[in-house]
């Protein structure tokens, strides 16, 4: 997809909406007292594949920083998003094989299982980094694991729901 105006428009709208939904709805969910799914990761999942990598990492950083700004989490989200933005090509190669580098590759043409694996790997990587940094000590290993597993599960389910809700749009 070329860098057209509509590309910028869609992504700016998506960025803003995801940040607002995250901080106004999902950060307040507190399901079972501690589960706050992080649906804004969808932005990094949806972002076009063949874009400039450095630019993508920059956007990932800004996305995390925007969430941090709202949730008083210092720069924890930024550290996590910038890492998954950096790791995304490696994760894609792992999930889709070499053919993700072809011009004709589209996320919507892959199998459901591949999409879920891709999303799940992004979410797990993000959550492991986020919660480890948040507690900042390995003494809380069990607590970190608990949070990664439960929040990760909720994030993946919600992202899949959101994904199928907006899947009519052709990427």
């Amino acid at each position: 997809m070329p860098m057209t105006n509509s590309f910028y428009f869609i992504n700016i709208i998506r960025f803003t909406l995801l940040v607002l939904v995250q901080v106004l709805v999902f950060n307040r969910l507190n399901f079972f007292g501690f589960i706050n799914p992080m649906v804004y990761i969808l932005f990094l999942y949806w972002y076009p594949i063949k874009e400039n990598r450095a630019f993508f990492i920059g956007i990932g950083f800004l996305l995390g920083l925007a969430i941090d700004f709202f949730s008083d989490t210092m720069a924890l989200h930024a550290a996590s998003t910038v890492t998954i933005a950096y790791l995304r090509p490696a994760i894609m190669r792992f999930v889709f094989g070499v053919n993700y580098e072809f011009q004709s590759f589209k996320l919507s043409n892959t199998t459901r299982a591949q999409q879920i694996t891709f999303l799940a790997l992004l979410v797990i990587a993000h959550h492991v980094i986020f919660f480890t940094l948040e507690f900042f000590s390995l003494a809380n290993l069990l607590l970190i694991l608990k949070k990664v597993i439960f929040t990760g599960f909720a994030t993946i389910i919600l992202c899949l729901l959101f994904g199928s809700l907006f899947s009519a749009r052709k990427e």
Partner: protein
């Protein structure tokens, strides 16, 4: 030189990644000290306005409940007032005022993180400053950490960095109130010596050592207590009076004697 440039061009994405990661980590680690970086908090114009707008909409839904709470508090205060033997007129000497109180509303609350912050809708304009105490009708809530013109962020007692002087009601045994991040309705009171007689259900209130909170503001009741590792102090689980998940109207307390107290303390520190 050419090789360095070639290296930079070749690894530019990795270098960019490492650079951004270091930035975010340094912000995070730096803020583990008492006062966080000035920029990374929700007490600023953008986030404050967003939360405030969303709050003006959502606050209508729990108006009934909030009214109920305020009436309950008024009733309690009137009970106190009428049962106290007072003279005909109440004398108000401005020199005798030790605490000034301002009201505010919570526009953002969190309790699921290890470090929780609450955003309130009053700021510098309303003379809210750093290190003022924040309480609700039921008990203690936290301490003001950052202020912008219209908003202030409160370091909740549900925060790993929180450390507040507290004591067992009607005694002078005091310790520090901390949080182990496990449950949002339970905080921990540490450093109460072993010889103190304790009972489950005893009330914990703020202590006199603090220059932020007045003495005897309720905190919670003892839920269970154990000896700590060294076997000489108790570690007490305190069940909070406040429902930390549902907070709307709060009071910000300023101790007018605090500058004097701080001055004295720094004098002592200088003498040593």
């Amino acid at each position: 030189m050419q090789q360095i440039i070639r290296f930079i061009i070749r690894y530019k994405t990795s270098l960019l990644y490492i650079f951004l990661l270091i930035i975010s980590l340094s912000f995070t680690i730096q803020s583990h000290s008492y006062h966080r970086s000035k920029f990374f908090n929700s007490a600023n114009w953008i986030t404050g306005t967003v939360y405030n707008t969303s709050n003006t909409i959502s606050s209508y839904f729990d108006l009934d409940e909030e009214n109920e709470k305020l009436i309950e508090e008024n009733k309690r205060l009137r009970d106190l007032l009428y049962n106290k033997q007072l003279t005909d007129s109440i004398e108000l000497d401005t020199n005798a005022i030790n605490y000034t109180i301002r009201s505010a509303q919570v526009i953002k609350n969190s309790y699921a993180n290890p470090n929780n912050y609450i955003l309130i809708n009053k700021g510098k304009q309303d003379s809210i400053k750093q290190d003022m105490g924040v309480i609700t009708a039921k008990g203690i809530l936290g301490i003001i950490e950052h202020t912008s013109n219209k908003f202030a962020s409160v370091q909740s007692i549900l925060n790993q960095k929180s450390n507040i002087n507290a004591k067992i009601k009607n005694t002078n045994y005091f310790g520090s109130l901390v949080w182990d991040t496990d449950r949002y309705d339970v905080v921990q009171l540490e450093d109460i010596p072993r010889l103190v007689p304790l009972l489950v259900g005893d009330t914990i209130v703020t202590g006199a050592m603090s220059s932020i909170f007045p003495e005897n503001i309720p905190i919670g009741t003892i839920k269970k207590f154990d000896l700590n590792v060294s076997k000489s102090f108790y570690r007490i689980d305190v069940e909070l009076f406040n429902d930390m998940t549902n907070i709307k109207n709060v009071y910000v307390i300023y101790n007018t004697n605090r500058p004097e107290v701080l001055q004295l303390e720094s004098d002592i520190a200088n003498d040593q």
